[in-house]
C-alpha cells in the first residue's frame, strides 16, 4: 500500500497507508484526517477536498479536467499546486507523496 502524507495547515502531519484505486479524498476520510470536508461525496461538485500537492508530485497526480478547473477557480486560495483530492486516484506511483491541506475549505 502506498504511503501518503497529509499535512494540516497547523503543521500536524498524518501519514496514511492508502488504498489503491480509491481517491485520495476517500482515503483521507477513511483515515479520519481532519481538514477535508468532501461535502459532495466525491462528485467534483463542491470544492471542499482542496489540497496542495508538493511540486515534485504534481505531475504524478495527472491533470485536472475542465470541471475540476472550474471548481478550483472559485477558491480564493487556489495556487498552481491546487487539486481536488477526490479527483486524484491513488496508485502505487504515488507512494511517498506529500500534500498540504489549506487553512480552510469552502
Amino acid at each position: 500500500m502506498p504511503q501518503i502524507t497529509l499535512i494540516e495547515h497547523n503543521g500536524a502531519s498524518h501519514t496514511i497507508e492508502a488504498e489503491t484505486g480509491k481517491s485520495l479524498m476517500q482515503n483521507a476520510i477513511d483515515n479520519a484526517v481532519p481538514g477535508i470536508d468532501a461535502d459532495c461525496g466525491g462528485a467534483c461538485a463542491c470544492g471542499t477536498c482542496h489540497v496542495f500537492v508538493a511540486a515534485d508530485w504534481l505531475g504524478a497526480t495527472g491533470e485536472a479536467d475542465a470541471m475540476e478547473e472550474a471548481m478550483l477557480g472559485m477558491r480564493p486560495d487556489r495556487t498552481e499546486f491546487s487539486r481536488l483530492s477526490c479527483q486524484i486516484e491513488v496508485s502505487d506511483q504515488l507512494d511517498g507523496m506529500v500534500v498540504q491541506l489549506p487553512e480552510f475549505q469552502m
Binding site: A45, C46, G47
Partner: protein, 413 residues
C-alpha cells in the same frame, strides 16, 4: 393552480396533473408526498402546464448533482427561478450567469465570505447575538422570526455591506420584495411595489458607492467590488449592480433567517434530538448542517437546456426549463439515510444539497454555518428550551421555504 381550489391528494392525482410549482405546497407544508411520489415514479418529470409554462422537475439527489455540475448543458441564464424575470427590470446577477462572466464577478465578491474574513467577524457576530438574546422576554409569548431571525440576519447583512446601521430594516424589506411577486414565485407582492422598492434600493446603493469610493483597506462588499478591476465600474451598469446587490441581500438574508427559525421548529418537533443537544452541545456544528438540510431554505434552482440532452431516460429539448428541487433531493432516501427525519448526530451531516453543487454552489455557506453555530451556542448558554407555542405561519412561494412568524416562549436554564 387555482387559488380557490384545495390542494389535491398527492397519492391519487394523475402524475401529469401534479403541479409542484404551486406555492401553497410550501405555504401549507404539503409538499412532501408530491415529491416522494415523483422521486419514486418519475424522478425526471415533465410538467406540461403551470402558471410558469412547461418545465422539467429533477427530484433525486444524484440527478440534481449531475445537472448542477454541467453548466455547459444546463445554463443559469436567463433566470434561476421557474419564471423568467420580468422585462421591466432586466437585472443581471452572477447566480444567473454562465462562465466566464459568472466566474469573474463571483471571484470579486468571494473574499468577503472567505473563512479568514469570517474569523475576524466572529466576535462582532457573537456580541450581536448575545445582545439580541439577552433582550428577549422570559415566560411570555413572542415571535421568534421577528425578534431573533430577522433581527440577527439583518444586522449581519448591514455589517457585510457596511450599510447605515439605523436604516438596516430596508435591507430586509428589499429582500422580501425582490422575489415575492405572484408571477415570479407565487408570492403576493405587486409588480408596482417591487419596482418601486428595487428603484429605491438601487438609488441608495448608488449613493453609498459614490460616497465610499477610494476608501482603503475596507472589507465590506461594496469596497471589494470597487477594488477589483473587473467590477470597479459596476455602478455604471445599474442592472448588473442591482442584480448583484439583490443576490447578496436575498442570499444572505432569507436563507439564514429561515434556518434560524426552522431549527427551533425542528427541535420542538423532535424532543429526543433536543435532549441530545442539551446532553452534548458539542453536537452544534453537526446540528447546524442538519438544520440547513432539514429546512432547505431555497426549494429549487432552475437551469435552461442549451441543447437537446438525454437525461434519466427522458429527452430534454434545447430551451426547456429544468428545475432542480433541492427540497426533494434532501429527502431522497437513496442518498441520505432516514432522510425525512431530523437527526442532529448524523454520520455525514454535510452531505446535503441545500447549498447546491458545481460552480454556483452557495458562496456564503460558511458564513451561514457560522451564524447558526454562534446562535445555538449562545441559546444553549441561556435557555433550557425555546418552546414553540403555536402554529408557524409559512411563506407563500415555490422558491423560498420560510416562515412569516413562529410564536415561542423561552424557558431559562
Amino acid at each position: 393552480m387555482n387559488p380557490m381550489q384545495t390542494i389535491p391528494d398527492a397519492r391519487s392525482i394523475p402524475l401529469d396533473e401534479i403541479d409542484v410549482s404551486d406555492p401553497r405546497l410550501l405555504e401549507q407544508d404539503a409538499w412532501r408526498p408530491f415529491f416522494a411520489r415523483l422521486r419514486a415514479e418519475d424522478p425526471v418529470h415533465f410538467q406540461a402546464n403551470s402558471p410558469f409554462g412547461p418545465f422539467w422537475s429533477i427530484t433525486r439527489f444524484k440527478d440534481i448533482v449531475a445537472v448542477d455540475s454541467d453548466p455547459d448543458a444546463f445554463s443559469s441564464e436567463p433566470a434561476i427561478i421557474i419564471d423568467d424575470l420580468t422585462e421591466d427590470l432586466p437585472v443581471e446577477m452572477f447566480i444567473a450567469m454562465d462562465p466566464p462572466k459568472h466566474d469573474i464577478q463571483r471571484r470579486a465578491a468571494q473574499p468577503v465570505v472567505a473563512p479568514q474574513n469570517l474569523a475576524a467577524m466572529e466576535g462582532l457576530i457573537r456580541s450581536r447575538v448575545v445582545e439580541i438574546l439577552d433582550s428577549l422576554p422570559l415566560g411570555e409569548t413572542f415571535d421568534w422570526v421577528e425578534r431573533v431571525s430577522i433581527n440577527l440576519t439583518t444586522q449581519m447583512l448591514a455589517t457585510l455591506f457596511d450599510f447605515p446601521f439605523e436604516e438596516r430594516r430596508k435591507l430586509t424589506y428589499w429582500s422580501d420584495i425582490a422575489s415575492g411577486t405572484p408571477e415570479m414565485t407565487g408570492g403576493d407582492v405587486s409588480e408596482e411595489e417591487r419596482l418601486a422598492a428595487m428603484g429605491e434600493c438601487l438609488e441608495t446603493f448608488t449613493r453609498i458607492w459614490h460616497e465610499r469610493r477610494g476608501r482603503e483597506g475596507a472589507f465590506d462588499l461594496i469596497s471589494l467590488l470597487q477594488r477589483d478591476p473587473n467590477t470597479a465600474d459596476m455602478v455604471d451598469r445599474p442592472m448588473e449592480y442591482l442584480g448583484n446587490l439583490m443576490l447578496l441581500i436575498v442570499g444572505g438574508n432569507d436563507t439564514t433567517r429561515n434556518s434560524m427559525s426552522g431549527g427551533v421548529l425542528a427541535l420542538n418537533e423532535n424532543p429526543a434530538e433536543y435532549d441530545k443537544l442539551r446532553a452534548d452541545p458539542g453536537l452544534i456544528p453537526s446540528m447546524v448542517s442538519e438544520i440547513i438540510r432539514w429546512q432547505t431554505p431555497l426549494a429549487h434552482m432552475r437551469r435552461t437546456a442549451t441543447r437537446d440532452v438525454e437525461f434519466g431516460g427522458k429527452q430534454i429539448r434545447k430551451g426547456d426549463k429544468v428545475v432542480m428541487w433541492y427540497i426533494s433531493g434532501n429527502r431522497d432516501e437513496s442518498a441520505i439515510e432516514r432522510a425525512d427525519e431530523f437527526v442532529i448526530d448524523r454520520k455525514n451531516p454535510r452531505h446535503h444539497i441545500s447549498f447546491g453543487f458545481g460552480i454556483h454552489r452557495c458562496m456564503g455557506n460558511r458564513l451561514a454555518e457560522m451564524q447558526l453555530r454562534i446562535l445555538w451556542e449562545e441559546i444553549m448558554q441561556r435557555f433550557h428550551m425555546v418552546e414553540v407555542v403555536g402554529e408557524p405561519q409559512r411563506v407563500r412561494s415555490n422558491f423560498v421555504r420560510g416562515y412569516a412568524s413562529l410564536p415561542v416562549r423561552l424557558h431559562p436554564l
